[in-house]
Assembly symmetry: C2
Homo-oligomer: 123 residues x 2
DNA sequence: GTAACTGCAAATCCTTTGCTATGGA
DNA sequence: TCCATAGCAAAGGATTTGCAGTTAC
């Protein structure tokens, strides 16, 4: 991967955004600093950054969101405020349980929890 | 919901297809029996059937798949043959563990496992 | 110099919607 | 009769792609 200021900016934006931004969000943010950047470039670079394991992508309601937090973790989405929270919970036991029960080899475990967040319960 | 032969056929197709069909798959299958059925009708009916809890929908790589197996269960996708297997595993303990750790209320838990299935390991 | 990258626009894929006509209760 | 539903076609949103020009190495 060759350096480009566009890719550098895009990576920084995702790293600075804790709310799991979409390509479109990144595009709007990038435009404030690099007005001529194109949406195609944003998509291409996000894809490359995922391929090179500098970012992760998650699918929320059919739209791809990006995440710079690379440690193994899961997501909780609040159906009231729509925010997506990181859930730091160990899935190893769960995964090995499924592996021995099914005889499939599992190398990725994505858990998507939906409910009402702590904050929204109080409002 | 009023009866229609289109909806009846669409529901039957999903119930008879264990491989988590997409709208397009259902459409092609439906056309063999009802050549004039339209893709819009298929989408509308699948949506209604989900709303009325006669079907479930799952998102796999950004595309919606339908599932007539309504009991609580999870999915395993083989990255070699791309088939999606049902995984019958209890998530209650896992969910309550997350609830007490985070104080969020969880009412849906979707787990998507990816790996190599039993069959593909032998080939 | 050259291959990777850009911006732009058009294309593509999946899904939804507006419309008028039809058909089930 | 009346309203849900159908078929058709056009619109929609998200993402990808083709191309000609530009830039990092």
């Amino acid at each position: 991967m060759r350096f480009s200021k566009q890719r550098d900016l895009i990576l920084n934006i995702v790293q600075d955004t804790r709310t799991h931004p979409t390509a479109d969000y990144v595009y709007e943010k990038a435009r404030t600093q690099l007005p001529n950047v194109s949406l195609g470039t944003v998509y291409r670079n996000l894809g490359q950054l995922v391929d090179n394991k500098l970012l992760k992508s998650i699918n929320i309601d059919g739209t791809i969101h990006y995440d710079a937090f690379l440690d193994d973790h899961q997501h909780f989405q609040c159906k009231t405020c729509n925010r997506v929270f990181d859930i730091d919970i160990n899935t190893k036991d769960f995964v090995s349980q499924v592996e021995s029960k099914t005889n499939h080899i599992i190398d990725r475990c994505q858990i998507h929890l939906v409910g009402i967040c702590k904050d929204c319960q109080n409002n």
